[in-house]
Symmetry: C2
Subunit: 192 residues, 2 copies
Amino acid sequence: MRDLRLRWACEEAGLPYNVQTIPFEDRETNHLMLQPFGQVPFMSDGELQLFESGACLLYLAQKTEKLMPRCAIEQAHTNQWIFSALNSIEIVSVPWWFLNISGNAENDLTKWLSNRLDQLEAILSERDWLVADTFTVADLLMADVLRVPSVRAYGNRPATEAYIIRTTDRPAFKKAYADQMVHFELADASRA
Amino acid sequence: MRDLRLRWACEEAGLPYNVQTIPFEDRETNHLMLQPFGQVPFMSDGELQLFESGACLLYLAQKTEKLMPRCAIEQAHTNQWIFSALNSIEIVSVPWWFLNISGNAENDLTKWLSNRLDQLEAILSERDWLVADTFTVADLLMADVLRVPSVRAYGNRPATEAYIIRTTDRPAFKKAYADQMVHFELADASRA
């Protein structure tokens, strides 16, 4: 669930937040005014209502150098890697995952995914973080895209695996992940 | 080719630019330092080197209100629709197109694509532009995602079709498109 991305970013940044649950059932009608594609997450901050996890992360990142450097060139590079995560990796990894769970383990997206992950492996072999020698919101997003179990298990890419471990070993990820699990359990219990 | 997006944005904004060609052959080695995924476009502006069309558009849009309003909330909404174009529509339309040209006209992504395009049709039935009653870089990108011939021809969605016509009828699009065609013809001629 992509709402983890926003929890994690708020934890990294030390920004206060609270989480509300939207029922999965009837999601096509119960929040289309807030999210026309029927997805989570979406957020509000004062007057602002915002959807798309990438746009929400960018909005949060603009608040603090803990998520994005203040230098204009490094900010452009943070954006570059945010879009890489969503539009060069996830554009194939999510449809590939979807075809997989639909019963097509061997499908025509496999070579494309493999190629992208190999290219990323080459990059991650040469650096710890995507931008400017420091963790940014681009790493948060890229790691979240890569840690999807079927994607993570696909192929042997040691630099990518080390990157996922390095990134998800951060206290902010662990807290966000644990809180999300508790949240789902409580939501399940309230529906039972 | 996604380089059209940057030409178009520069034409809308009145920003001076020049275009260089990277040969498709050997692209895996000849520009991986500039674009690790072997894709176009990438751009440079002074010291900055940047890839990912979304990040390049956002960079250009920050220069001028012709591409993005100056109000913070409308800027966040412009980002929201940029990410919608790339991560809610293109995340399914490009893999769907790819499966199509690979010989799988009926594939498991069809229902997902259809659903996303229907949701977008509902939005475009109610407004001319995605953000704040005016053309922004989000419209440029969304229209470029939607005008892919096989995607455009898929289903009957009059508001979406009117939106594509409204957007690509702009002089800046026509100039960028015509210039790109000439550029490809010259590049082809020089290789013949």
